[in-house]
Structures are given as C-alpha cells and as structure tokens.
Amino acid sequence: MSSLVATLRCVVMRDLTLAMRRRADVLATLFFFVIVVSLFPLGVGPEMATLRIIGPGVVWVAALLASMLALERMFAADYGDGTLEQMLITPQPLAVLVLGKALAHWLVSGLPLVLMAPLLGIQYGLPAQGLWILMLSLLLGTPVLSLVGAIGAALTLGVRGGGVLVSLLVLPLTIPVLIFGAGAVDASLSGLGAQAHLSLLGAFLLGALILAPWATSAALRISME
C-alpha cells in the first residue's frame, strides 16, 4: 500500500515539475477560461437579471472547454519521448500511474479554475451564496472532467487531429456534470438548496475515481500497440 502511495506521489510530483517548467502551457489554459467567461457580459450586455441567469452555465461551459484544451497534453508528450512506454512496463499498477497523471492534470488545470471562479462570478452579479456553491460544484466536478478526459486522451493517442477528436469523445460524456454543476448554483439561488445536485456531483466523482483509471489503462495499452 505504501509503495502505491509512493508511486502516486512520484508521478504527481513529476508531472507538477514538468508543468512548472512549461508554465506558458498552464497559463494559456487559465487565460482562456478567464477570457471566455469575461466575454459574455460584454456580448450580452450589462443587464444584471440576464447575467445572473446565464452566469453559472457560462462559467461551467468555459471550465469544460478549458479542461478540454489541456487534455491533449496529458499523455501526448510522454507518448512522444517514450516515457509512457516505460510507464506501461513498470511493476507498478498502471491504474495508479494514470490516477497520478489525472490528479496532476487537475491540480494544474482544474484547481486554478475553482479558485478563480468566485472572482469571475462577481461579473455576473452572483451573490455570495451562489459564489460558494459555484466553487463547491467546480471543486467536485472538475476532477471528473480530468478523470473522464484521461480516457479520451488515452484513446486518441497518436491519432492525427487527436485534439478535436478527444473533445468530440469526451464532451458528450461530461454533459451530466455540466447539468448538475450549473444546476447546483441555480437551485441554491432559487432557494431550493444545492444539496441534491452536489451529492450527485460527489457520486460522479466517486464513480469516475473508481472506473476511469482502469478504463484509461486499458485504452493506453491498446493505443501503445
């Protein structure tokens, strides 16, 4: 067990170190998120009532697209220089390595979105209560995007135009997360309480944590043949 934790740590630290040495890639994703979210109030107009209705949905869709942008990089670089090949033949369970990579991916491209969301939510006139729920829903939902996205990224390894393909594969799978993520904020603002939505997001997260690493491992073995 401790060796599994050590392996997980090793992979996460490795990917975080790599991300820190390629900061431009990380920042590009974050700026994309900020800009997409900020464009809507400019385009739709400063009508507070309208903005408040579309706010949660816009933030969630932007988070979804930003996480798709970063997905392509999850395995492609490792595939190109042969380190992925080496990971496939280590004595460590591949699912643990994959979980580590997905976790690092979330820390780099998901967690910053969660932290920035309240700031962007202010542009939409969301009240404090709504901002908290937005953050919480993103905190539960964005790891699901990384985990499910890993399956798509693994399946499209080495395929030409993999970036577009991975979005086509993964985006439909993330629709439930989008619905309940944005729905949580709406429900809380309309006084229904976000409990049910957040519970479902938590369930998605648990399901993805258990199933996605195995599916991704299988996909990687197929792609590496």
């Binding site: 992979v11 170190t17 042969g82 090949e85 033949i89």
Partner: protein, 215 residues
C-alpha cells in the same frame, strides 16, 4: 526461483498493418545468455522486442517467463525486466538526475540520490547531473537512459540498439555493463547494427545466440 528464470518464446507471429513481419519464431534465453536479433531495416526487430516486453500482443504464439505466460504475470514479469527502446524515455524538461531518479523509482528501485549520481558518473556524465536533458547532446541523452542499467536489479535486459549515438568510450562502458550482467547470470536480448566485434567482447564465451529475421 533462480533456475526458473528462463525466457521461452514459442511460435511468435507479428503482423503490422496488413504485412506479416515474421512468423514461427521460437527461442529460449537462459541465465548468462545473450540473444542478438539481426535483420535488415523493417524486418520486425523492434516489434519482436516490444512483444517480448509485453507492449505488443502477438497475433499468434506466446512468451513464457519461468514457464508462465507473461500475459498472466504482468507486473511480476515487469519486475524482472528492463526495456530500453529506441525512444530513450528521457524528459527534455527534467534534469539528468531527475530523469534517472524517476525512471528508477517507477521501476521499483530504491536507489538513493548518491547512487543515482554515481550511476551518471559511471556513464561519464559527472558534473552534468543538474542540466536539463534538452541541453544534452543525443549521445549524452542516450547515456542517461543507459545509466538505468547500472541501477536496475532486473534479470532480463531488452535493448533496442543500445550502442547508437554513443562514442567509443561510452560503448566500452556499456560493453562492460552487459558483460557483468551476463556474468551475474542475467539475460540480454538486443539488436545492434554495430559490427559483431562489439558483442564478442561482451561475451567471449560464445554464449551469443543469433536470431535472423528476414524481411
């Protein structure tokens, strides 16, 4: 366990695209033996090595380690094997030290930082441990990859063109490593386009098997 550590390959067939690269390949490698896979470009040498690693599934035939199919053994087999492909598995953004440390830790090794530094020193990279791999030359990157062989405790080494891009001094170091490994009862399967003198120095006892693949 020591006497069961034998690699048996039986009736292997490889198809790439719609072309059959080879079929009916059978051999076995015993402790202290070296197998040199020969053949022209495109004859399936790399495919064969990747099959023996478990990266590619054979269309037909099977690979056995100590009598058990490697498909069933999986991680238990990977514990005994080190593969060095023609991609070095080196991350350009990490330093030589970080690269080697991560590779050896993922391979289940518990090498200390001193051991990793010593391994790099043995490959002639002393003083370059903290340089990012992207500033190293092709040959130096290859040396970082080969330094894994110093650290690993596996019994089966599968090496795809281990001597490419190396200078004479580095080739001598690798030869010494390989010969030491055979001496300790290890097994090696490799491909190389270097002249055969390189291998006769590795294993003068004539424990070199040859396998010829035709295109």
């Amino acid at each position: 366990m020591a006497n069961t550590a034998v690699l048996d390959v039986s009736n292997l067939e490889c198809v790439r695209g719609d072309r059959r690269l080879f079929a009916g390949i059978s051999f076995s490698v015993k402790p202290g033996e070296l197998l040199h896979v020969q053949g022209p470009n495109g004859s399936g040498k790399t495919s064969l090595l990747r099959m023996i690693c478990g990266l590619v599934l054979p269309v037909q035939g099977d690979i056995f380690w100590g009598g058990e199919s490697i498909r069933g053994l999986r991680e238990d087999y990977f514990k005994e094997m080190t593969y060095l492909g023609h991609l070095s598995g080196i991350k350009e953004d990490l330093t030589a030290l970080e690269n080697l440390d991560i590779l050896s830790r993922l391979a289940g090794g518990d090498a200390t930082e001193d051991a990793v530094v010593a391994a790099l020193g043995q490959m002639g990279l002393a003083g370059r441990e903290d340089l990012p791999a992207k500033v190293l030359s092709q040959g130096q990157k290859r040396r970082v990859a080969l330094a894994r062989l110093v650290l690993c405790r596996t019994r089966l080494w599968i090496l795809d063109e281990p001597f490419t891009a190396l200078d004479v001094a580095a080739i001598a170091v690798v030869q010494a490593l390989l010969s030491q490994h055979l001496h300790n009862g290890g097994m090696i399967i490799l491909t190389t386009h270097q002249d055969l003198g390189v291998l006769s120095e590795v294993s003068p006892a004539g424990a070199v098997q040859r396998l010829q693949l035709n295109s």
